[in-house]
């Protein structure tokens, strides 16, 4: 039998919001979804009038919905910002080609300027070439480090004041979990921040920090937004995959788990005596870095010298102090098995 909308609008409910368990019709869902993001933007003062904002656009569901919603809210609430789509071309045949096509269609659909920066022009290496050189192992690390810088450099090229990314609540919760498990305090502190990099590099923000993945997918589906959905052809991150599956299990038992984990991450405090890595700049490229030479430059040099192994040596970990509440201990116990997997991965502090 049809369920009617919780908002008493007499329309038929189409979905159940995971965060609030409200049963909403499409109109009320769109309204609630958009209003919530608007409130996040306003409460955290993410944008100033006149700013130029680069949307990290991968063609995937999150960034596609982000570009759509930001354009809509910018017009509806007069943020006065200029939006630019910014895409990184890693040079992965068959994967990035298709997703870039999606971004190009989005550019037409949303009438936003688009800038594509490629690994090849920035680093002289495509991911395909890197994989040929170093094999399938560790290539995600290269790709991740390069992508981060590529977005920043692209944003500077288009003279953006800020970068927004489509990281959603599920992503943030997953990152909190992973940083707890790895004892990576520097990242744990940063990963829940809605805006980072205000001290030097281009600020980055996550307007979807509190937005559930389920709602993003539903929104994209019902609005018939054009997005691209497939796995990167090079190995997916196994550890992250387990963390995500675990998070989804938790969510299916108690939907609020996701925001709960984000709040836990926000509330963790770090003892003063824990030494945090200091942020400086890379002596080679000038990019923000905690070492004298940034990760990308180290990797690039080893690639060019034909010695990719150099780049992935173990680095020290900051010690975990005082953050293990009972809840997290249980999670850590649950995850012990995954630490086995982690050995194959590379950790940076």
């Amino acid at each position: 039998m049809p369920v009617t909308c919780t908002n008493d609008c007499n329309r038929r409910a189409k979905l159940k919001r995971p965060k609030t368990a409200e049963k909403l019709c499409l109109e009320c869902f769109y309204q609630a979804f958009e209003d919530e993001i608007h409130r996040t933007i306003v409460n955290n003062k993410l944008f100033q009038p006149g700013e130029s904002v680069a949307v990290g656009a991968s063609g995937g569901k999150d960034s596609t919905v982000l570009a759509y919603v930001l354009k809509l809210l910018n017009e509806r609430h007069n943020y006065g910002i200029n939006l630019v789509l910014l895409s990184v071309d890693e040079g992965i045949t068959g994967y990035r080609d298709d997703s870039l096509e999606t971004v190009k269609r989005n550019q037409q659909q949303y009438q936003l300027p688009l800038k594509i920066v490629s690994y090849e022009e920035l680093y002289g290496w495509t991911m395909d070439a890197i994989v040929q050189k170093i094999g399938m192992k560790n290539n995600c690390t290269f790709c991740g480090v390069f992508r981060r810088q590529a977005l920043d450099r692209g944003a500077m090229l288009v003279k953006a004041d800020k970068i927004v990314t489509g990281h959603n609540a599920d992503d943030v919760a997953e990152t909190v979990l992973m940083n707890v498990l790895r004892g990576d305090i520097a990242r744990l502190r940063r990963c829940t921040a809605i805006m980072t990099g205000t001290e030097g590099a281009l600020p980055r923000c996550k307007p979807f920090k509190y937005t559930y993945e389920k709602e993003i997918v539903m929104y994209a589906y019902f609005k018939k937004l054009d997005y691209f959905s497939t796995e990167c052809v090079y190995s997916p991150n196994a550890y992250r995959g387990y963390a995500r599956a675990y998070l989804k299990d938790l969510e299916s038992i108690r939907p609020s788990s996701i925001v709960d984990i984000i709040h836990s991450g926000e509330r963790m405090s770090i003892k003063k005596e824990v030494k945090m890595p200091e942020q400086g700049t890379c002596s080679k490229c000038g990019y923000i870095s905690s070492q004298s030479i940034c990760k990308a430059c180290v990797m690039l040099e080893s690639l060019n010298r034909g010695l990719p192994k150099l780049a992935i040596g173990k680095t020290h970990k900051a010690k975990v102090v005082t953050i293990c509440s009972n809840a997290f201990q249980r999670i850590i116990y649950r995850f012990k098995i995954f630490h086995e997997l982690e050995r194959d991965e590379i950790k940076f502090v």
Binding site: V3, K14, L15, K16, S63, T102, M218, T230, K248, S252
Partner: protein
């Protein structure tokens, strides 16, 4: 006739012999091909179980049928226990199945079931 589509990563993992689906929703909404692909085996299965009667299948039965008949490789990417793996959204006639009793929902003629994987692809 009930029709189903498995979207996103799933069919990528299960390759084209299972369900050929365009990758994005734009194509998905414009194309009937995905319905046909599953329509066939599903109809055959329903015919075997007896005309018409088979529409009394519930979602639980449908999911286990998909697992047994369509997903030869790595079914754990789609099913977990009796249900779909957490992170896969299910729409029944364009409505969230959480409003419709999930596994207990009984299939009706002309129902359209859509599985959307959210597990990756930001």
């Amino acid at each position: 006739m009930a029709c189903c589509a498995i979207s996103g990563s799933i069919q990528a993992q299960y390759n084209s012999k299972v369900i050929l689906l365009p990758f994005n929703f734009q194509c998905l909404n414009n194309s009937d091909s995905f319905c046909v692909m599953l329509w066939w085996p599903l109809q055959q299965a329903l015919n075997v179980t007896g005309n018409g009667q088979a529409y009394r299948w519930d979602m639980k039965k449908l999911i286990s049928w998909i697992k047994e008949n369509l997903l030869q490789e790595r079914p754990e990417l789609f099913v977990q226990g009796d249900s779909v793996r957490p992170g896969i959204l299910v729409l029944i006639n364009e409505s969230d199945w959480e409003l419709l009793g999930e596994l207990e929902y009984h299939l009706e003629e002309n129902d359209c079931i859509l599985f959307i994987s959210t597990l990756h692809g930001g």
